[in-house]
Amino acid sequence: MEKFSLEELKFAARFPFTKTAKKILSSTSFQVTYEKMQFAKKRVLEDLFSSNVSVLITGDQQLYEKYLVSYPLSRMIISFFDSQVRSKFVFAETKKAIVNITADNPNFIDEAKRIASDLGIVYDGLNVSVETYLENIPKTPEGRLGVQNIKNGKVLLNENGFLSMVGEAIKNNIEAGLPIHQDSIPKDVLPEIQNIVKEIETEINLRKEQKEKSAIYFAKTTGEIAPCMAKILERARNGENLSHFARVAIASYLLKRGKPIEDVIEVFSATPNYNEKIARYQVEFIAKKGYNPPSCQAMESYGLCIQECRLANPKLKNPLGYGSSFVAKKRRSRRI
């Protein structure tokens, strides 16, 4: 058995999709205990349902092993679910990796470079070849090839751009090989994995019911929502990247309509590069300052205004007024 340092084990535990992690896993016979199985279940549940990301900063050999082994086990578990659930898992694991790179780490770029090297990405400073960039191109507006600084076959990235590219490479790596075919799952762990799958299925169904109920509650309590804001909400829920302006607009709008801060933060949880700490800081800042949402004119100039709404409500000055004019209209029609 090859020997690995604690530092290497820690790296593998934090980034279990890397070649280093695979090497440790394949050359060491870790015992799959009940505890490790349960930890894998916890990992999947956290990936599917929690907006919090657990960061592994320090620990002992046992903890690192638990983290490391739970990764292949969770991949086996998630392979029993449909592509939608699997992509949620991939997204959450990617986010976890990014947070592990960046959290409290002023030298995050060195960590990102270490992972890039491990994943076979060749770079020079922060520059990569156009081909490498395209193989790992971030699916965000900022990541588009047309806005990159490209010279002589190289994409000259800044730190954030480099991190986004590494994020995409991580995502591709986690995605690769999923779903694992049932025949490839070791027979000694298969029954326990199937049990866990059943438990997670029950949890998914339960959450679905709760979500439907809360959606009805949201509609009842908040009344009509301005179409431009509804559109931003929908985009956020679909995991699209929102511009800074759109984020400020939806946060200030929801806060002014009395939504609690926690609910507003939750809105951004599915967006790429979501960082709870940053989102919380910004939402709390907007709440503290009591900012009003941008005017309809500003929304229009940022391309966020919905044409139909503009035509139907020519006197509307601010999306906040949408609900009240709707209610007022209703009241007027009742009077008649």
Binding site: E131, E135, P141, L145, G146, V147, N149, N152, L156, S243
Partner: protein, 390 residues
């Protein structure tokens, strides 16, 4: 009395194509055994697909025996190119391909002669675009050595560019990004300008930047220096603002686009992008670049809509390539045809037409060109054509 047997145009063309394929060796695409082939006839460009050949010999035997009028092959390499449906082919990799069509360049002449016809003007522009895709985007931006790029005349309306050594593992999303890059799509203001709320300033692209950032800045600076902003669609009022500021060009070159006040910056930038797009984008057919299961005309095969060869071109002499002469494979022997209506066209140094309701004798290659375009019939079939009309 025996009834006279008339030869149809389809049979006439097929016979000419058969003679060509029987007497010429056609070079197939690289790694031919991994490619899917599709063939077309008189009615459709692709009538059947999912063919595969173990080697060039098999392909040439097939061409001489079956004489398709259109031959296409997959940009992709597959483990099982003849399998169907497509998932069973097992995609391995794919060439990066660009297709430039003269009728998609928004040229004024296209409006005059229609999309099914070409003239020297739109074909020259198509060649310009092909050269731009090669020199500006593939070589300068993407760093692809010229030796790794292949180019061929499409046989009809434009040029095809193939890169077979790099970018082959890219999936659809990344290929769409390349097509968008070459066509200058998605160049939005918000992605080019960074706001610094602390200093209440906006930083724009600089002249030293690479890619579209640098290209757009150079374009604006050039038009400020040459005082030609009006020529690219700006009003005199806006143009004057730039001309009056003595160091406008230098400021913008350094990324300080706010040096000149423009009330609607978004509109200004989008107008600028529209102008540069017309002048400097590649005008490629995006679907051909990003669709990894696409079939494309096989180089050095005959094109059933013109009778011209989809000829491979030595990239070093693309700028001198003469599509009106070099891809002609048929003879000067006269063929009598009846032309319903045809615009003028240039082939082999001779200008033909325009023709309308005319029986004429043309060199074989020119007659085949019109027959393939389906604007003429063999003279002996003129009556049957008129009968059909009646």
């Amino acid at each position: 009395m025996d009834q006279e047997v008339k030869i149809t145009e389809e049979a006439f063309i097929t016979e000419r194509f058969r003679k060509y394929y029987s007497s010429h060796w056609t070079k197939g695409p690289s790694q031919i055994h991994t490619r899917e082939f599709g063939f077309g006839g008189w009615e459709k460009k692709i009538e059947s697909r999912h063919y595969s050949f173990a080697n060039e010999k098999e392909l040439n035997a097939f061409l001489a025996r079956n004489t398709p009028l259109f031959i296409s092959y997959s940009e992709a390499h597959y483990n099982y190119p003849a399998a169907r449906p497509i998932e069973k082919k097992e995609w391995i990799s794919g060439d990066l391909v660009f297709d430039i069509d003269a009728n998609e360049l928004g040229m004024p002449c296209t409006e005059k002669h229609g999309k099914n016809w070409v003239c020297e003007k739109c074909m020259d522009r198509a060649k310009e675009c092909a050269l731009r895709v090669i020199d500006d985007f593939l070589v300068n931006d993407f760093g692809v050595p010229k030796e790794e790029i292949e180019v061929n005349f499409s046989g009809n309306r434009g040029y095809h560019i193939h890169v077979k050594t790099r970018f082959t593992s890219l999936k659809t999303y990344a290929r769409k990004e390349i097509a968008d890059y070459v066509n200058a799509n998605g160049l939005d203001y918000d992605l080019f300008f960074v706001q610094d709320p602390m200093r209440k300033r906006t930083f724009g692209p600089k002249i030293t930047d690479g890619g579209w950032k640098g290209r757009i800045t150079q374009f604006l600076v050039k038009h400020i220096k040459e005082r030609t902003l009006e020529n690219i669609g700006f009003t005199k009022k806006i143009a004057q603002k730039f001309y009056l500021r003595f160091d406008a060009a230098e400021q913008i070159a350094a990324g300080n686009w706010e040096a000149v006040y423009v009330s609607d910056r978004r509109k200004f930038f989008s107008q600028l992008v529209d102008a540069i797009k017309k002048e400097q984008s590649g005008f490629v057919d995006e679907g051909v670049t990003f669709d990894t299961s696409k079939l494309i005309r096989m180089p050095d095969s005959l094109h059933g809509e013109t009778g011209l060869l989809a000829q491979r071109i030595d990239i070093k002499r693309l700028d001198k390539y003469d599509w009106t002469k070099e891809p002609i494979v048929f003879s000067e022997s006269p063929v009598k045809i009846y032309v319903k209506k045809a615009n003028s066209f240039l082939l082999n140094g001779t200008s033909f037409g325009p023709y309308e309701d005319k029986t004429i004798e043309l060199p074989e290659y020119a007659a085949i060109y019109l027959l393939c375009k389906k604007v003429a019939v063999l003279a002996e079939n003129k009556d049957s054509l008129l009968e059909t009309k009646e």
